[in-house]
Symmetry: C2
Subunit: 223 residues, 2 copies
């Protein structure tokens, strides 16, 4: 309207700022509606309206409704992970530490199990390669943290050094992730999740050396 040839803010330019602001509104509206009505029951039209944009505009900011769900949650995940690792009891046995970490993640999902289910489904099977790469990044963070705990357990001689922390971390995460799916699918309840997670983690951490020092994996003949 009036003369403002360069009203642009300090750094990012007016256009960019509008886009960021719009993006923020979209994710806020999506998160609010997903939580209030559930993922399936929320329409993209509703989200668009709540964000004050047209239906089609939504898809300039997210590639699909599922993508939107990932965007909403991924924003929060780093904080959740940090929190889960923050208060790990330094002196506790490894399995207790793992229960603390995975339990912390589960506590977050427990806030809205149905929605967490939809989120984890996208974590595991989102169509978008690019987005899955970002997911992998988050998973890597968790894994690095777990591997660190394993390394510390080795240093304090709770477990032996023959265990590769990276591989072991992947194993423990696999155990967590499958049970998480079972729980979010309501195939088991939260108590079952905790109980079975502990059992399986104990099994995985302990494993089994050969029963005698010399038998080893070489004993493969007939009984």
């Amino acid at each position: 309207m009036s003369s403002q040839p360069d009203l642009a803010p300090s750094e990012p330019g007016r256009r960019e700022r509008n886009k960021q602001e719009k993006r923020r509104r979209i994710l806020a509206a999506a998160g609010r509606l997903f939580r209030r009505k559930g993922f399936a029951a929320t329409t993209t039209q509703e989200i668009a309206t709540a964000a004050g944009i047209a239906a089609g505009t939504l898809f300039l900011y997210a590639r699909s409704k599922e993508d939107l769900l990932l965007l909403v949650f991924m924003d929060e995940m780093q904080g959740v992970i940090d929190k889960a690792f923050a208060a790990v009891p330094a002196a506790a046995p490894l399995v207790d530490q793992l229960m603390h970490v995975f339990g912390g993640l589960a506590d977050y999902h427990a806030e809205d199990v149905r929605l967490a289910r939809a989120f984890i489904r996208e974590i595991a099977f989102n169509e978008d390669r690019e987005r899955r790469r970002e997911v992998m990044g988050v998973r890597t963070v968790i894994n690095a943290g777990v591997a660190r705990l394993i390394g510390e357990a080795q240093r304090r001689r709770e477990i032996g050094r023959e265990l590769d922390p990276g591989d072991a971390a992947q194993v423990y995460f696999s155990v967590y992730f499958l049970l998480l799916q079972n729980w979010l699918n309501d195939d088991i309840d939260r108590d079952g999740f905790d109980a079975q997670l502990r059992r399986r983690l104990e099994t995985a951490v302990a494993g089994s050396r050969a029963p005698t020092r010399r038998a080893g994996a070489r004993l493969i003949g007939r009984p």
Copy 2:
């Protein structure tokens, strides 16, 4: 038309037979089209037409398009599992045996990776509780087989008896299942799948006793 008051076949009655025959045609058509065009690109209308029924009739036989995919695959799964366990080398180390079993399952999925991905997604997250229970049944079969292998390994003293076969089987399956997802998502290739599966299974089987006989998990003080 003419008088056949009780033309019904030996046992199941005419109606029931028609339904079974129609069901067969539907699953055959669905399987054929899914494999030829992919899951997403196949429409339920196409399947209905190929099966010689109306669009709406399809949903009297399957609750959703995803359900149809599960029905198609579940039919085959028992055979695939039997085959995977059939030729397990009886004398090989446990990890090799596990690789044989999980590799056998992976070989089957390798026939059509894209479709297998859609199938496994439904295995993990299908909306239908009833159907997921059936899936659980199949998983239980795999687990029992793996647990049997573990038990045999214990009996031939390859591994120790302190390992609970059921729990360990769940751990190994978790490891397999997560890597399967990674592979079908094309985050890793088949070679990577095999290589990492082996590493992680070895890690899980071996685990880690405490490094010295007396240290145990009790050593939790300061370094």
